[in-house]
Amino acid sequence: MATYSTNEFKGGLKIMLDNDPCSIIENEFVRPGKGPAFSRVKIRNLKTGRVIERTFKSGETVEAADVMETEMAYLYTDGDFWYFMDEETFEQVSGDEVAVGEAKKWLKEQDKCIVTLWNGVPLTVAAPNFVELQVTDTDPGLKGDTSGGGGKPATLETGAVVRVPLFVQIDEIIKVDTRTGEYVSRVKN
């Protein structure tokens, strides 16, 4: 089993902590006064996304986490699992609802996303920053209103609901920022 000593700690290193895979954000060596040397480490729990600060005795070793990020193509979902494929090796993996999380609102077949694998199983899935999706349902709105003020809800082909300007119509394709869930623009067919 691979381990890392505190003197190998650096940003991006993946370690196991409390049985969860984590990523080191930053590491600072501390030696107070004449006291014990330790490392003050900022860590992101890759399962929950939470950032915590922990200290480690200098020279202490921790287990490495078998975590890697790969770009994969989203294939389909059967409702329980979401399937992804590595387009170089054609290897397929499946992740459950917890792993796919928010990304499921935005994923359309063949979209490229960053899948974080832990022991070969998807841990988290990040949708592309921008996706282009078709509007499947929205109020017809008022003809001639191009101001975009106010807005209205629109349901997209993936089931996601976003606020769009009044001029957006059913069947149109729009660009959405998945990080904020906000409408960006219309896409010309």
């Binding site: 060596f29 030696r31 107070p32 006291g35 014990p36 040397a37 330790f38 200290t55 200098s58």
Partner: protein, 315 residues
């Protein structure tokens, strides 16, 4: 290249300061028969070879303190030194295993007088007045944690750390009260210090006396030790020096026992230092100040690497 000039100018300032005060610059060996036996210091050592002498293990100084005290006992008077010092396994944003210390001793000075001199040197180096706060270790400790550092125990401090989310403090500190105090200080107190304000923290708990005299004239016995903090960085550590050879040897013995308990490398006690103390160390106060850190603070560097010609990674 700018930092080369800044360092040269700083050393010039330091030397001028001590010439004005009639303090003698000295040079002592970096390699010595013994070094600090402090449990928390990891020492570089080497073995002599060739035809010079019978092979001997020599230790690289963690500070020039012991050799300088031997000079003081020999009657050198007030002395200072800019000395390369070495500590294993200390590398990070504020640490390099090889670093420069300014260490000086003032014969006849008590702790207050030395603190005043440190302050005037710092004002000279920074070229400006800096807001200053002098407070006791107890006041500062209690203000932030509500724990009295002179009346606490290791368990209370570990519990405090656990409440703050650092239950691992127990592993880091072991059974040592001074380790637990240092841990709590650096984790929860140091980060609370006001920026751009110089702190002199004084009167340490007895278990952190190291080479300092004890002040037993007050109801609570404290160690005559101070530390200087600036912008969250520990800059200097000073003592009114312990002159009692017996007490010093006992403290070293205690360190040796702790080293054995923790299965650390055994190091010899510096018999020369004990001998010098026995022959009589004049009443004096001394302080070690990190010059690399001082330079960082003067120039606003984010990392010690920025002020070193070749940090350890490229040495």
């Amino acid at each position: 290249m700018a930092f080369l000039h800044q360092r040269a100018a700083l050393y010039q300032t330091v030397r001028t300061f001590f010439i004005e005060k009639n303090v003698l610059e000295v040079e002592t060996p970096i390699l010595s028969n013994a070094s600090s036996c402090d449990v928390n210091l990891d020492i570089f050592s080497t073995v002599t070879g060739g035809n010079i002498t019978k092979a001997r293990r020599l230790y690289m100084q963690t500070s020039p303190e012991f050799a300088m005290k031997r000079l003081l006992a020999a009657g050198a008077g007030s002395i200072y030194q800019i000395a390369k010092s070495f500590r294993q396994a200390e590398s990070g944003r504020f640490h390099n295993p090889e670093f420069s210390l300014l260490e000086w001793y003032r014969v006849g000075f008590d702790l207050e007088e030395l603190m005043e001199e440190v302050l005037s040197l710092l004002i000279r180096c920074f070229g400006r007045k800096i807001p200053l706060k002098i407070l006791t270790y107890q006041d500062l400790f209690q203000q932030i944690t509500t724990i009295n550092p002179h009346a606490t125990n290791q368990q209370e401090l570990i519990n405090y750390a656990a409440l703050q989310g650092n239950s691992e403090a127990a592993t880091i500190c072991g059974d040592s009260l001074s380790n637990a105090l240092d841990y709590v200080f650096s984790q929860y107190i140091q980060p609370q210090l006001t920026k751009d304000q110089l702190y002199f923290v004084r009167d340490y708990p007895v278990c952190m006396a190291m080479l300092a005299k004890l002040d037993d004239k007050k109801t609570v016995v404290t160690a005559k030790r101070f530390e200087v903090y600036f912008n969250n960085l520990e800059l200097a550590n000073g003592y009114e020096e312990l002159t009692d050879a017996k007490q010093q040897e006992q403290r070293f013995q205690q360190d040796i026992i702790e080293r054995e308990e923790q299965k650390l490398e055994t190091v010899p006690i510096d018999k020369h230092l004990i001998g010098a103390l026995e022959s009589g160390l004049p009443d004096c106060s001394g302080v070690a100040l990190g010059l690399d850190r001082l330079l960082m603070l003067m120039e606003g560097a984010r990392s010690i690497d920025e002020v070193l010609a070749f940090p350890i990674g490229r040495a």
